[in-house]
Symmetry: C2
Subunit: 392 residues, 2 copies
């Protein structure tokens, strides 16, 4: 057999650029003295009602295949939550599928609607798979810069300039990973008008919705005329600390969801039964279960922001939600990866280079508050010490 | 916005043909008096060691993201099992990924290696997603009939006639769903020679491997020269009754797995952490845990086969494994779907039409032994009564 070569693999899939985090992991190897401000893996346990539902599933002992698109009751529960809390009308039969996390939902939607040659507008810095999936579909990502000087709010002139006859969709998350910002209701209304003016689909990843700290969350799909052009992705990974259970959902226009469902079946068969049981319990959690989690992250993020903001020659846009800030350290090192590795080696603190979120993240680091309060505090202090030393 | 139309969706994904089982489900609606010989969902609980590991995971309470490709320890465990029990050499770092079931593994491999225009040889009747995924990749399925008169063993002249310059791979499962047969070691050796002679990749789905009742299982990837051209899919759904946990694996040539891993990340991020914990426990299960499960299904399948074989004007190839037989009822009705619906309505027994496994399944029904012993027995008796009445 000839050796594996380009002729043996799908070129679109081969073109997927992978994370360069291995350089970070390598620098971390054998070190147990590091403070981690890089993780997206919160260091907290799932709420007790979720764990109780999982125990019940294990005690019953069955692990059967379920409805391909998720339990009927779970889809109905999600539909009810979307109507009540998100102001989104999505029918549980036609408009919603339960997915193995937002990641799987994003893939099946993007691959179901994009064709080779289509262009996909991605405000950037961006979460990696928006870009990766676009390439995996043979479509073309068109990055539109979100300027730090504009608080990472989209510039509508730049967005309009990015539109061509091949533009099919705009993809973003709100609250934003990695930027930490939450776009205002006015910005979302302008985005909705922009999408309608240019006949674009909107794919909005709202996995951090419950971590909106600067006002009430608004789903762009709830705005007038947007239901038929918006795919809304959500899940329980962040809100209920169920990341590893891989369970989420997508709500979208039924005429397109019909095709998305076909690919979902081929990709997943069905979501995990125990994760679905956990998701049903998650829907039934009360504010008493969840507010302590939200408050915990809000306090840690506020603390992180205030301390980073005070560093000399470091700029940092105020976060409005999520677990992240995205400060600019370019006055200390023009290359984010180099600086992130120096921070591990010389300061004992782990961060992610902004370039993990596209080349427009150059000069920035993504800092997270997923570690324990003590570890986050230790990380901040080490960063302060290091920066003050550099600053001289 | 213009209404959803073909220009808005990916034509390859839109072309995925879905199961027509809804007609079956509709005929079943409101009936709680049916005996089910259709299900692929075994009516048994997971082994206790698996449930114990799941309880431990829930008690600890964390549900973190894991390594994208599965726990290192789990990949090492799978690698060890493949070496010891399957005679397959697959390195845990380069050659194995843990997937959200075989379904997800099949999709990511097929989409990573097939290109539009490629041809994929599928012995048929076949498990549905081999065909669906081929179309979803824009590739062309080439069905090669498995003749009942030849005990559903591949005819190598027909296989050779199906090969063209565009042929890339052959995809099959062994033991076979829906046919119930297990191909002999000699047949697998001939298939290996065929793949090498025509420079084809081999994708072999061994999800029913532990239900090989007619001798020792043989993995085609273990034959000389096959490691570099074989993707082997396995999992815990059938062997450990973990269907709903969606956890399995694929082992394949590292040079190609490098690309498969990229798509796996985009599709899954990582497999479920609790399902991985269950899979680790599954690897540690002993024969004392598993033999009763195997023996239970073997006894039910043997019973089903003997009774079906005795029906007048019904032919049935002897099963060698799996949960299925695939008898031919064409002397009673030329259309399998029509006959399956008659069986529900007039005999109170649920089966799957052979056409669910491609048009070459016409005239056949797939009967399974996933229901309880009592329900399987009741189903057989109803079928006998009905056939004897028809036969007059």
């Amino acid at each position: 057999m000839h050796q594996a070569n380009a002729s043996m693999i799908n070129p679109d899939v081969a073109a997927i650029p992978m994370s360069k985090r291995e350089a970070i992991w390598k620098a971390m190897e054998g070190r147990n003295d590091l403070a981690n401000l890089a993780s997206g893996n919160p260091d907290m346990v799932m709420p007790e009602p979720v764990r109780k539902a999982m125990r019940k599933q294990v005690d019953e002992g069955y692990a059967r295949y379920t409805d391909y698109y998720g339990f009927k009751e779970l889809r109905e529960g999600i539909s009810g939550m979307l109507a009540q809390d998100w102001s989104l009308q999505a029918n549980s039969e036609d408009a919603i599928i339960v997915t193995c996390g937002v990641q799987q939902g994003l893939y099946v939607v993007m691959r179901s609607i994009f064709k080779p040659g289509d262009e996909v507008i991605i405000p950037s810095p961006h979460y990696g798979t928006y870009y990766q999936n676009t390439l995996a579909c043979g479509a073309k990502p068109v990055l539109v810069p979100l300027a730090e000087s504009g608080n990472f709010v989209p510039d509508f002139e730049r967005l309009a300039a990015a539109v061509s006859a091949k533009s099919r969709a705009i993809v973003f998350c709100n609250p934003n990973n990695p930027l930490g910002v939450v776009w205002s209701h006015q910005t979302l209304k302008s985005l909705a008008e922009f999408a309608q003016a240019h006949d674009l689909l909107v794919l909005v990843d709202e996995i951090y919705r419950d971590y909106t700290f600067n006002g009430e969350p608004l789903s762009i799909g709830s705005l007038p005329g947007m239901a038929q052009r918006t795919f809304t992705f959500g899940g329980f990974s962040k809100s209920h600390l169920m990341m590893g259970l891989r369970i989420g959902f997508v709500a979208g226009p039924p005429a397109l969801m019909h095709t998305v469902k076909k690919l979902h079946y081929c990709v997943a068969l069905c979501p995990s039964v125990i994760s679905q049981a956990a998701a049903q319990a998650a829907l039934a959690c009360t504010d008493a279960d969840l507010a302590p989690i939200r408050n915990h992250f809000a306090a840690k993020l506020d603390h992180l922001y205030r301390r980073i903001k005070a560093l000399p020659s470091v700029s940092c846009v105020a976060p409005g939600g999520s677990f992240y800030v995205f400060p600019n350290f370019s006055r200390y090192d023009s290359d984010a990866m180099t600086f992130a590795i120096r921070l591990i080696e010389e300061a004992g603190v782990v961060t992610l280079p902004g370039t993990e979120f596209g080349k427009l993240g150059q000069g920035h680091l993504r800092l997270s508050v997923c570690a324990t309060e003590a570890e986050v505090s230790e990380g901040i202090q080490r960063l302060e010490t290091f920066i003050h030393k550099l600053h001289g």
